[in-house]
C-alpha cells in the first residue's frame, strides 16, 4: 500500500512540472507585448528597457521559466500588470470563492445523482428509470451558461426568490457564512450541479443495474438477506467508482465554473481569468491557471490514493 502511494506521488511530480511548463509557455503563444498594458505606445526606449528588466522579460525564455518557477514554489506569483497587486493574494481569495461554488455544486450534484441513479438501477424500465435517463442526458447536453440565464429569469426576475448576481449583499466579494450570503450561492451552485448530477446518475445507474445481476447478490438474496442488507453490499461495491468520478468532477467544476461565474458575476477564478484575458494581464493569467491546474493534479492524486483505501482489491494489484 505504501509502495503504491509512493509510486503514485512520484508519478504526479513530472505531471505537475509539465503543467507549470504549459502554464508558462501559453503566455508565449500570446500575441502582442504584455508591456503594452503598462507602458504607453510612445514610451522612450530606455523606459521600455527598464520595465523589461524589472519584469525579467529581457532574459532568455528558459531562464525566465526557472526564475518564475522558483518564485512560484515560494508562493510568489508575481505582480498583476493591470492592478499592481500581488497575483498570489488575488488568486487565493478567488480560489476560495470558486471552491465554495464548485464544492456545493459537486455535493448537491453527486448526492442527487447517487439517489436518482440507485433508484433507476433498482427499478429498471420504470418511469423513474426513464426520468433518470432524461436527467442524465439533459445534464450533459445543456449549455450551463444558458441554464444559468433561464434560472435567473425564473427564480430571480419572476419569482424574486434569489439574487441574480454577485456573492453577497455588500458586493465586496468577501464570503461570510450567513443566510444573506448563502442566498447568493443557490442559483450558481444549482446551475453548476447539473453536470455532475447527469454524469453520476448515469454511472450509478449502470453500476447498480450491473451489480444486481451479479451472482453474489443473487446468492445474498437466496440466503434471505433483507433488501437493506443487500443494498449495503451494493453501496460498498459502487463506492470506489463513484468516488473516482465524483472527485474528478470537483476538478472539472473548478475549471469549468468560468462560464457560470460570468453569468452570475461570481467573484471567483473564472472572473479573474476573464479579467486577465481581456486586459492581457499575463502574470495574472499564468498564476490563476497554475493554481487551478495544481489543484486538479493534487485532486487526481488524492482520488487515486483514496480509492484503494476504500477498495482493498485495488491496493494489491
Amino acid at each position: 500500500m505504501l509502495t503504491y502511494i509512493f509510486k503514485r506521488v512520484l508519478y504526479a511530480i513530472p505531471i505537475a512540472l509539465s503543467v507549470t511548463v504549459v502554464s508558462f509557455i501559453l503566455v508565449y503563444l500570446a500575441p502582442g507585448d504584455p508591456l503594452n498594458a503598462i507602458a504607453p505606445a510612445d514610451a522612450p526606449a530606455e523606459v521600455i528597457q527598464a520595465l523589461k528588466s524589472a519584469y525579467g522579460l529581457d532574459r532568455p525564455v528558459p531562464v525566465q521559466y526557472g526564475m518564475w518557477l522558483l518564485r512560484a514554489v515560494q508562493g510568489d506569483l508575481g505582480t498583476s500588470i493591470a492592478s499592481g497587486r500581488a497575483v498570489a493574494g488575488e488568486v487565493l481569495s478567488a480560489v476560495g470563492n470558486t471552491l465554495l461554488l464548485a464544492g456545493f455544486a459537486a455535493f448537491a450534484g453527486v448526492l442527487a445523482g447517487c439517489i436518482l441513479g440507485a433508484l433507476a438501477g433498482y427499478h429498471r424500465g420504470s418511469w423513474i428509470d426513464r426520468a433518470a435517463t432524461a436527467v442524465s442526458v439533459i445534464g450533459v447536453s445543456i449549455p450551463h451558461y444558458w441554464l444559468g440565464l433561464v434560472l435567473t429569469i425564473v427564480f430571480s426576475i419572476w419569482l424574486g426568490w434569489f439574487p441574480a448576481m454577485g456573492a453577497g449583499p455588500d458586493g465586496s466579494g468577501a464570503w461570510m457564512w450567513d443566510a444573506a450570503h448563502l442566498r447568493y450561492l443557490v442559483l450558481p451552485a444549482l446551475t453548476l450541479s447539473v453536470i455532475p448530477m447527469g454524469i453520476i446518475t448515469r454511472t450509478v445507474r449502470a453500476l447498480v443495474a450491473e451489480m444486481l445481476e451479479q451472482e453474489f447478490v443473487v446468492a445474498l438474496r437466496a440466503r434471505g438477506l433483507s433488501g437493506r442488507a443487500v443494498f449495503r453490499h451494493i453501496a460498498k461495491n459502487t463506492a470506489p467508482t463513484v468516488l473516482a468520478v465524483a472527485g474528478l468532477q470537483i476538478g472539472y467544476l473548478m475549471g469549468g465554473s468560468i462560464l457560470v461565474e460570468t453569468v452570475f458575476a461570481w467573484p471567483g477564478t473564472g472572473y479573474l481569468l476573464n479579467t486577465a484575458i481581456f486586459q492581457r494581464d499575463i502574470p495574472l493569467l499564468q498564476g490563476t491557471l497554475l493554481v487551478l491546474c495544481m489543484f486538479f493534479v493534487v485532486l487526481n492524486l488524492v482520488v487515486d490514493i483514496l480509492q484503494p483505501l476504500i477498495d482493498p482489491r485495488m491496493g494489491r494489484g
Binding site: 503563444l29 450533459v140 475549471g255
Partner: protein, 295 residues
C-alpha cells in the same frame, strides 16, 4: 428430417452478405428515436445552410425603432434583438457559424487524433510511451479551463477558438485510437500479413484502420455535443466570434442585458444550442447501440 437441417443454412446463404457498416445503417434506420433526432438535426442544418434564401430579413441590418420586440411581433415572428435585428434571420445565420464551430474541431481531432494514435500504437515501445506521456499532460488540465486558457492566450477570434477546441479533443481521440491499435497489433493475422511481406503502411490501411475507425467514430460523435457547448461558450465569453457576426453563444451574451425586459427572446439562442447539443448526444447514443450489433 435432413431437409429441416439444410433449410436454415440455405436461408443464411440466400440473404446477400452485407458489410458491417451497411448493417449499422440498417439498424439505425429502424430506430425511431434516431430517425426523429436526425429529422430535427436536419431541419436545423438545412435552415442554416439555406439561410441566405430562407431568412425573412437581413441578419445584420438593425433598426433603432424596432429594438427588442417581443415574440410574435408583426414581421418578426421571434422578435428582434438589442439592435433591432430580426431574430429568426439571426438564428438561422447563427446556425451556420455555431454548427461549423462545433463540428470542425471534432473533425480535426478525428483525423489528426486517429493518425497519431495509429502511429503510436503501431510503432509501440518507447516512441509510443513518449507520445502517450506527453498527451497525459493535457489530461492534467480540466478541458474547459484549457480551452479558455489557450484561446485566451491566442487572443479572441474564431480560428483561435477552433484551434483551442481541436487541441483539447485530439489527446482524447489519440487515446482511443492508440488503445485499439495496440490490441489489434498483437493479433496473429497482422503478424501473418507482415510475414507475407506487407509494408507497415498497407498493414495499417488494410488491417488496422478498419478496427480503429469504429470506436473512434463512436467517440467522436459523442464529442459533437461537448464541442457545440464549448464553442458557443467561448463565444459567450467573448473569446470566439466577434460582433456583429451572428453566432448563438455570442447572441446569448449580447442579449443578456435584455433578460429583464424580454426574457423569452434573450433565452432563444441558448435554447437552440441546447436542442442541437442534446440531439447530437442522443444520436451518438443511437449510433453506439447500432454499432454494437457485432457482439
Amino acid at each position: 428430417m435432413p431437409a429441416s437441417l439444410v433449410l436454415p443454412v440455405n436461408a443464411v446463404a440466400a440473404t446477400p452478405s452485407r458489410s458491417y457498416w451497411a448493417m449499422v445503417w440498417h439498424q439505425l434506420r429502424r430506430d425511431p428515436m434516431a430517425l426523429f433526432i436526425s429529422a430535427i438535426l436536419l431541419l436545423i442544418i438545412l435552415s442554416a445552410v439555406f439561410a441566405p434564401w430562407l431568412a425573412p430579413d437581413d441578419a445584420y441590418k438593425g433598426s433603432m425603432l424596432h429594438r427588442l420586440l417581443p415574440m410574435g411581433s408583426e414581421g418578426h415572428l421571434l422578435g428582434t434583438d438589442e439592435l433591432g435585428r430580426d431574430m429568426v434571420s439571426r438564428l438561422m445565420y447563427g446556425g451556420r457559424i455555431s454548427l461549423l464551430m462545433g463540428v470542425i474541431p471534432v473533425l480535426a481531432a478525428f483525423v489528426i487524433g486517429t493518425a497519431i494514435g495509429l502511429f503510436a500504437g503501431y510503432v509501440g515501445g518507447t516512441v509510443n510511451m513518449a507520445i502517450m506521456r506527453v498527451l497525459d499532460v493535457f489530461y492534467a488540465f480540466p478541458s474547459v479551463l484549457l480551452a479558455v486558457a489557450i484561446s485566451g492566450a491566442l487572443g479572441p477570434g474564431m480560428s483561435n477558438s477552433l484551434i483551442a477546441l481541436s487541441l483539447i479533443f485530439i489527446p482524447q481521440v489519440v487515446r482511443v485510437a492508440e488503445s485499439v491499435t495496440t490490441q489489434v497489433r498483437k493479433l496473429d493475422y497482422i503478424e501473418a500479413a507482415r510475414m507475407s511481406g506487407a509494408g507497415a503502411f498497407s498493414i495499417i490501411r488494410v488491417h488496422v484502420l478498419g478496427n480503429v475507425l469504429g470506436p473512434v467514430f463512436v467517440y467522436a460523435t459523442g464529442l459533437l455535443s461537448v464541442s457545440m457547448i464549448l464553442a458557443s461558450g467561448l463565444s459567450f465569453l467573448g473569446l470566439g466570434v466577434k460582433p456583429p457576426e451572428p453566432e448563438w453563444g455570442l447572441m446569448l451574451n449580447t442579449l443578456r442585458s435584455a433578460i429583464y425586459t424580454n426574457p423569452w427572446v434573450a433565452a432563444l439562442p441558448g435554447a437552440l444550442i441546447f436542442i442541437t447539443s442534446i440531439a447530437f448526444n442522443l444520436l451518438a447514443d443511437s449510433v453506439r447501440s447500432a454499432m454494437d450489433i457485432r457482439r
